[in-house]
């Protein structure tokens, strides 16, 4: 055990000496949590509408109405709006010509052009624009109807305002029982992204460590180590323990930093750390297996990054597992990520207890044990191959 600890200590020191690791381990994950959180977290309102047209009563009225409906409104020139729609930078483009603005002021019929984008979700925003414009129509209809009944324009407006104040409009309440919406309800803007990034990066950083095992072999350090009274199992345990410590350290850092910077709630911190620890063990085991199977560190780093990204994507680190089709969600559980993701979900969203996450922990521990055993066997083989 002392040998394993000594090897782990050296591995940690080597890791910290490399300054580029500071970026990958400490800055990059937080950057991604931030980007993903601001892009996807917190709903982002009811779509985006870009309006082209001069400042006019009509323009202002539509803008106000859309903004009331929680739609993000931007203004730009006609050409720019068409560009934005074409490139998907906005959901819907609305064009208010000078003629339309004048006609609106004069109380004449108004023609507006609306252009929805082709991407997903634009129809809902388009409907919001339709409703907002219909609302303006109705306001004008109200006045027109009263004027038609022989009431003066000013008086009609005043009477309408009074009547509106006196009445309670009918309300639409929505109860959402959609399981996905429910699942994500109460989740902070950054919570989902933080858990996913944690898993993605801890695994990725660990797999990248496979190359150090290869270098150690190539530089002859491994032969030297095994030449001293240290068994292959101990040597591998030392390396694995080094990777494990790095993974655990990085994971704990991401948890702490996201909790402080983005107010991410990690639920019961001890349970979360336990999930992290078992997941780190799997990651370390996987790194050892790759590092002992391959002899070329260039290829190993390629496979490490590739595998890290692919398993991460499949395990729900890029798109939440809940949004996966059912069969795929089942398949996803070949990855340790999916199990850890489930465990984090239990802890973060449902105040899960140790009993709730025990199955996931069990699977992770089993995965780690199998990978470490395979890694030891394969390292022994590769050492005898080298000698």
């Amino acid at each position: 055990m002392r040998a394993a600890r000594a090897i782990a200590a050296v591995e940690l020191r080597r890791f910290l000496r490399d300054r580029s690791n500071i970026f990958f381990v400490f800055l990059f994950p937080l950057l991604l949590v931030l980007v993903i959180g601001t892009q996807f977290g917190g709903g982002g309102g009811n779509g985006r509408v870009a309006i082209s047209g001069t400042d006019s009563a009509l323009n202002n009225a539509i803008t106000a109405s859309l903004e009331d409906d929680d739609v993000t409104v931007t203004r730009a020139g006609a050409e720019a709006v068409r560009q934005q729609v074409a490139r998907g930078r906005t959901d819907v483009g609305l064009f208010i010509s000078p003629a339309a603005a004048t006609a609106y002021d004069a109380g004449d019929p108004v023609d507006l052009e609306v252009v929805p984008g082709t991407q997903q979700g634009t129809q809902a925003t388009l409907q919001r624009v339709r409703t907002a414009v219909a609302g303006l129509s109705v306001e004008r209809g109200q006045v027109a109807a009263l004027v038609g009944a022989g009431i003066g324009d000013t008086q009609a407006r005043a009477a309408l305002a009074d009547a509106a104040a006196a009445s309670t409009p009918p309300e639409l309440t929505v109860v959402d029982v959609d399981s996905i919406t429910q699942e994500f309800a109460g989740l902070g803007q950054f919570d989902l992204g933080a858990a996913a990034e944690l898993l993605l990066f801890v695994f990725l950083t660990s797999l990248a460590g496979a190359t150090t095992l290869i270098q150690t072999r190539r530089l002859g350090v491994m032969s030297r180590t095994l030449g001293s009274p240290v068994s292959t199992g101990q040597a591998l345990a030392g390396h694995a323990f080094g990777r494990f410590t790095i993974a655990l350290f990085q994971g704990a850092y991401i948890m702490l930093a996201t909790a402080i910077l983005f107010r991410v709630s990690w639920g019961n911190i001890w349970l979360s750390l336990l999930v992290l620890a078992t997941f780190s063990a799997v990651a370390a085991g996987a790194a050892m297996l790759i590092g002992s199977l391959l002899d070329n560190d260039g290829a190993a780093s390629g496979i490490g990054i590739g595998l890290g990204l692919v398993l991460g994507a499949l395990g729900g680190c890029m798109l939440p597992l809940e949004l996966f089709p059912d069969t795929l969600r089942t398949i996803a559980h070949v990855t340790p990520h999916a199990w850890a993701y489930d465990a984090f979900a239990q802890i973060q969203r449902h105040d899960g207890t140790l009993v709730d996450i025990l199955p996931a922990l069990g699977v992770l521990v089993a995965m780690a044990a199998v990978l470490l055993a395979l890694g030891t066997w394969s390292l022994r083989r590769s050492m005898s191959r080298a000698l």
Partner: protein, 388 residues
Amino acid sequence: MRQLWTMTASDLRQRVRDRSVIIFALVVPLALMFVFNLTLGGAADQSLDPVTVAVSAPADDTLAPILIASLTQVDGVDVTVDEVSADEARDRARSGTAELGVVIPEGFGDAVRQGEETVVAVTEGDGSGLESDILLTVMQGVLAQLSAGAVTAAAGAQSGVPAEDLGALAQQAATQAAGLNLTEGEAANEQLSIAGALVAGQAGLFLLFTVGFGVLGLIAEREQGTLARLRSMPMRPGLIVTAKGLVSFILGFVATGVLLTAGSIFFGVSFGSPVAVAVLIVCAVAAATSLMFIIARAARTAEQASALQTILALVLAISGGAFFPLTATGALDTVLGLNPIAAFTRGLGITSGGGGLGDIGVPVAIMLTFAVVGLAASRLVPDRGRDL
């Protein structure tokens, strides 16, 4: 010229033998595309699905039918309305046999007319999506219209309109035709489909790794001493760097070409005119290669270079929307747009929407400018590896 080709060919041969270029340039991106496509597959459907709405309405209510009728007249959404009891409406939404359960309360019509409080309760069920959002907005609009009628009637009464005319007044207000007409225009499409964006994004990301196998080889040559030997050969020193650039270029072009082709075959994406796409690839490869020259000057060791390369590749790829589309407007959008990966994706969006050589001027200009600026910058970066 012969020497240039000798060096380029020898490099290519070595890169193919050492399998990492194949792993990085082809295997990993294809695997990622495959997995991403699998996970995003469900979300990628853009057409609006038919929707079932379970509605419970009080018998003989005068305004409820208007609300119900409005649901069946929504543009683009095929809605089936089942009239059921209140409990059943809620249950069907919960059980997923209806996307929406709508409960219109007793006395709805009268309440609206009198401006009294009344609540239409909607249960949004499992798997509800875009279509439900549209229907909710429609109902919201109809309620506002009905309420406007009631308000008008009240205002009329207050202003002395005879009681018998109030109904017509309300009707007129709610359905006034001389209003605002919306005509729907069609936008040019310069966007990639979800699968297309995925293929283009991964191709762009891994391009930044692939081109490294050429230019960054300079650092490896420096470390293994072959650079000194090459420099003692009877040829212009610039030829060595040119050969590395050429290797980057060929690897990048071939890998990106293969990725886009494979992507379009496997995921049914069409990127449009092959000539325009080839031009885009050339420009993207040039931009990516110029970045490698900066790294080759700035890095002292191969390890530093690969770390620097990974950092730049990931930052450019993420800010260029290779993993998920970034939405920004204004100055930020302009800055993000200068990213060659973003320009590459944008260019492919234009060609996939039917654009030809004449339409991709902006992205091409962005990428070429990046390439030129990058090359110029690489001359200015202090040469940390000495004498490169």
